[in-house]
C-alpha cells in the first residue's frame, strides 16, 4: 500500500487580484523505498503540491492520504512532527543553534530525552558525513552542501518515513548536487524511505526511480527509470 497518496487534489490560490489554480485534479501514490523526482517548469505547481503533502496546507478539493488517513482528519502539527520531513532549497537551519542542536530539534520537539536526542543526532550526522568537529559549529560556518546534508540529517532524526525536498540542490554545484542526491537515494533504497524531490535539474531526475512531470498544475506523465532516456529526448 502507498504511504502517501493524493486523490483528485486541487489547490486554488485566491486573493483580491487573482484566482490561480496551482494544482488541478491530481491523483498520485507515493510508496516507501522509492525516490520520486517531480519536474516541471517554474510555476507548474510543484511547491504547492509539496506543501500539501507536507501537511502545511490542505487541498481546496480532493484529499491527501497518509497511510490511508486523510491529512484533513489528522492533527497536522503532529503529522509534521512525526510523519513527514521537509528540506528546502536554502535557510533550512536555525542560525542560532549549532549543527548538532539543529539536528536534535525534531527529537526534542517530540519530548525525547536530551541524551537520546544527542545520540540520535550524532548517528544521523555521521550518516550524511558531517564530522563531530563540524557539528559543534553554527550553520553559517558550513558550506551550502554541508548545510543541506545537515538538513537531511535533521529530516532523518525526525523519524519520519517520508522525506520531501523542494529543490534541495538549487543552490549547489554539480559535485554537491550529486552528493546530496546520492545520499537521498541511498536512504530510500537501503532504509526504505519514501523520498520526493522537486527539481528542474534533469541530472537528479535521472537518478530517481520515478519521474513525475507537472504541467500547469497537472501531472502529465510518470515514468519509470527506464524511460529516463525518453525524458531526455523530450526536454
Amino acid at each position: 500500500m502507498s504511504i502517501l497518496s493524493m486523490e483528485n487534489v486541487s489547490y486554488t490560490y485566491r486573493n483580491r487580484y487573482q484566482t490561480v489554480n496551482a494544482v488541478c485534479n491530481v491523483s498520485y501514490e507515493f510508496e516507501l523505498g522509492h525516490v520520486y523526482a517531480v519536474v516541471g517548469k517554474s510555476g507548474s505547481g510543484k511547491t504547492t503540491m509539496l506543501s500539501m503533502l507536507a501537511g502545511l496546507d490542505l487541498p481546496t478539493e480532493g484529499r491527501v492520504l497518509f497511510d490511508g488517513k486523510p491529512t484533513s482528519t489528522l492533527n497536522r502539527d503532529r503529522y509534521r512532527r512525526e510523519n513527514v520531513a521537509v528540506i528546502y532549497q536554502s535557510f533550512n537551519l536555525f542560525p542560532l543553534m549549532t549543527v548538532k542542536e539543529n539536528v536534535m530539534y525534531p527529537s526534542r520537539l517530540r519530548g525525547i530525552r536530551k541524551k537520546d536526542a544527542l545520540r540520535c543526532a550524532s548517528e544521523k550526522l555521521e550518516l550524511v558525513g558531517i564530522s563531530e568537529q563540524q557539528s559543534k559549529r553554527l550553520p553559517f560556518m558550513l558550506s551550502g552542501g554541508e548545510q543541506q546534508r545537515v538538513a537531511i540529517a535533521r529530516a532523518l532524526a525526525s523519524e519520519s518515513q517520508v522525506i520531501l525536498a523542494d529543490e534541495p540542490t538549487g543552490n549547489l554545484d554539480v559535485e554537491n548536487t550529486k552528493n546530496i542526491v546520492g545520499i537521498l537515494s541511498d536512504l530510500s533504497h537501503d532504509m526504505g524511505y519514501c523520498v520526493v524531490i522537486v527539481t528542474h535539474d534533469l541530472s537528479i531526475a535521472e537518478r530517481a526511480d520515478v519521474v513525475v512531470r507537472m504541467v500547469d498544475g497537472r501531472i502529465t506523465e510518470d515514468q519509470s527509470p527506464h524511460d529516463n532516456a525518453l525524458l531526455h529526448c523530450r526536454s
Binding site: 511547491t47 506543501s51 507536507a54 502545511l56 496546507d57 502539527d77 503532529r78 503529522y79 509534521r80 512532527r81 512525526e82 520531513a85 521537509v86 528546502y88 532549497q89 536554502s90 535557510f91 533550512n92 536555525f94 542560525p95 542560532l96 543553534m97 542542536e101 530539534y105 525534531p106 527529537s107 526534542r108 520537539l109 517530540r110 519530548g111 525525547i112 530525552r113 536530551k114 537520546d116 540520535c120 553554527l138 525526525s158 523519524e159 523542494d166 529543490e167 538549487g170
Partner: protein
C-alpha cells in the same frame, strides 16, 4: 523511538524554554537593546512609584498630625457659646469614632460667698445670697443670670469660648498644676487676674461658691469650696470662673454646713434645695446642657463620612437650616488645601505613570517586532517541523519577556541601592510595567505567528 512517556510534555516545554535562553545568549549585541530600554523605563516607573509612595506617606502623616476642630455654633456661625447643647447629642457624635477629644463648656451662675461686691454681684451683701424684698423669684433668677459672675465648666480651658477665636491664652498655674487639671475631677478653679486683684485673692486660696442652675420651674443651688489654682488674662467681656468639666457633670461635693443649707432652704422656699447629698452620690442635673462644645476630630481620612453622618443627623451647613436646628463648623480648610495639593502631585505622577505604561506597550511591540521580524524564517521552520502555534509563540515571546525582565531587575537593583527598600507600590508598578511590555511584545509575536509560513518557506527559491 516514539516518545510516549508521561514526562514528555514537560521536556517539550523545557526544551522551548531552554531554546529561548540559548537564543538570547547567542542573539548578540542587538538583544541588549531590550534590557537597556526596559532598564530606563523601569527606572522611571520606579522613581514615579517612589514619588507617589512618598506623597501617600505625606498624606498619611498629614491626616495623622493635622488638628481639625469642629464646634457647635449658632445658625449664623458667629457664636460658639450661649448655646444649649444636649450632652446626649455630644455623646452620640463622640461615638462615631471621628472625635478624638471633646471640649465642653458649661456655664453656671455663681456667687462667691463672702467676697466683696463690686465685681461679683450686685446682690452680694457680704454673706450669702438672698432674694431682696419685693422681687419675684423669677425676676430674681433672671437678674442673677444676668449679673452674677459665671462659672464655666470646661474640659480644656484653651477651648473655652472666651479664648476660642484667640489663639493666645495667657494663664499662670499654681505650682504643681497645669492645663491637665481641667481634665480631672478636682475642686479647683481659675480666676481672671482682674478678679483676683479686685477680691484680693492669691493662687492657692480657697473660695466658696454658690452655684445656681435655674430654669423656669426649678432651681438648684450648690455650695462648693474650690481652690484657685490658676489665673489668666481676661479676653471676654465678663469675669468668668473656670472649673473642671467633671465638676459639672457629676455630683458636687456638697457643703454639709447646716447653716448654709438651712439658710438656703429658708430663702428659696419652693425650689429644690440640694442638701445633705452623700459625697459619692452621682448627681445628674436634669436640665444640664453645654453652652459650648468643640471637638478635635480624628480619622481625618474619612472626614467626608463624618460630614455625611452630621447631615444625616439633621445638622446643616452654616446659613442653612436643618431639621435639627444645630450647626457644626468643621475647620478643615487648611487640611483640605494641603490634601488637595498633595493629591494634585499624585495625580500628576499617575498621568506620567499611564504615559510610561502606554509607552511600554508601544516599545514592547516595536522592539519585539524589530527583533523577531528577521527571524520569521525560523518561526516558519519550526512550524513546518510540527511545532504548534502556541509553541512558536512561546519560543519567541519567552525570549522577549525574559529580556524585558532582565532590564527591570537591573532597575530594581539600582533603585534598591539608591533608595534602600522599595515600597509595595513600586513593586506593583514594576509588575504593571512588565505586564505592559509583555502585552506589547505578545501582540507583536502573535501577529508574526499569523504569517503565511508556506510563503516564507518557499520565498527565495
Amino acid at each position: 523511538m516514539r516518545a510516549k512517556s508521561s514526562t514528555a510534555p514537560f521536556r517539550r516545554w523545557g526544551f522551548i524554554l531552554a531554546s529561548a535562553l540559548v537564543s538570547i545568549r547567542r542573539g548578540g549585541v542587538k538583544n541588549l537593546i531590550v534590557p537597556l530600554t526596559s532598564f530606563v523605563l523601569a527606572l522611571f516607573i520606579g522613581l514615579f512609584g517612589h514619588q507617589i509612595a512618598t506623597s501617600e506617606d505625606e498624606l498619611d502623616v498629614l491626616y495623622e498630625n493635622s488638628e481639625v476642630l469642629a464646634y457647635f455654633t449658632s445658625g449664623s456661625g458667629k457664636h460658639v457659646d450661649d448655646l444649649i447643647i444636649d450632652p446626649n447629642t455630644v455623646n452620640s457624635i463622640a461615638e462615631t469614632g471621628f472625635v478624638g477629644e471633646t471640649y465642653t463648656t458649661a456655664i453656671r451662675n455663681t456667687h462667691i460667698i463672702g467676697a466683696p461686691t463690686s465685681i461679683i454681684s450686685i446682690y452680694d451683701n457680704g454673706e450669702y445670697l438672698s432674694i431682696p424684698p419685693g422681687f419675684a423669684k423669677e425676676t430674681f433668677f433672671e437678674n442673677a443670670r444676668r449679673h452674677l459672675s459665671k462659672v464655666c465648666f470646661v474640659s480644656d480651658i484653651k477651648h473655652a469660648p472666651e479664648f476660642f477665636f484667640e489663639n493666645a491664652l495667657a494663664i499662670e498655674y499654681l505650682d504643681g498644676y497645669d492645663a491637665s487639671v481641667f481634665g480631672r475631677n478636682e475642686s479647683v478653679c481659675a480666676l481672671s487676674e482682674g478678679m483676683m486683684d479686685a477680691l484680693g485673692y492669691e493662687l492657692g486660696d480657697s473660695i466658696r461658691l454658690a452655684v445656681f442652675t435655674s430654669t423656669l420651674s426649678d432651681a438648684i443651688i450648690l455650695y462648693k469650696d474650690v481652690t484657685i489654682v490658676a489665673q489668666f488674662t481676661r479676653v471676654g467681656s465678663s469675669h468668668l470662673i473656670y472649673m473642671p468639666a467633671e465638676q459639672a457633670n457629676k455630683g458636687y461635693i456638697l457643703n454639709t454646713d447646716r447653716q448654709y443649707s438651712n439658710a438656703s432652704q429658708s430663702y428659696y422656699d419652693g425650689y429644690e434645695i440640694v442638701d445633705g447629698l452623700v459625697y459619692d452620690y452621682e448627681y445628674v442635673d436634669p436640665y444640664f446642657a453645654y453652652d459650648a462644645v468643640s471637638m478635635r476630630l480624628t480619622n481625618l481620612k474619612d472626614l467626608a463620612e463624618f460630614k455625611e453622618y452630621l447631615i444625616d443627623s439633621g445638622y446643616s451647613p452654616i446659613g442653612n437650616r436643618g431639621s435639627a436646628r444645630k450647626w457644626i463648623v468643621i475647620e478643615d480648610t487648611l487640611l483640605n488645601d494641603s490634601v488637595m495639593s498633595i493629591n494634585r502631585h499624585i495625580s500628576y505622577m499617575q498621568i506620567l505613570f499611564i504615559a510610561v505604561y502606554a509607552l511600554a506597550i508601544g516599545i514592547g511591540f516595536v522592539l519585539s517586532s524589530l527583533l523577531t521580524k528577521m527571524r520569521r524564517r525560523e518561526l516558519a521552520l519550526m512550524r513546518s517541523m510540527g511545532a504548534g502555534r502556541f509553541k512558536t509563540f512561546a519560543a519567541f515571546f519567552i525570549e522577549q519577556a525574559l529580556l524585558c525582565v532582565t532590564g527591570c531587575v537591573m532597575a530594581v537593583l539600582v533603585l534598591r541601592i539608591w533608595n534602600g527598600s522599595l515600597a509595595p507600590l513600586q513593586w506593583y508598578s514594576f509588575i504593571g510595567y512588565i505586564g505592559c511590555y509583555w502585552l506589547g511584545a505578545a501582540v507583536s509575536v502573535m501577529l508574526m505567528n499569523k504569517v503565511n509560513i508556506i510563503e516564507i518557506l518557499t520565498a527565495g527559491e
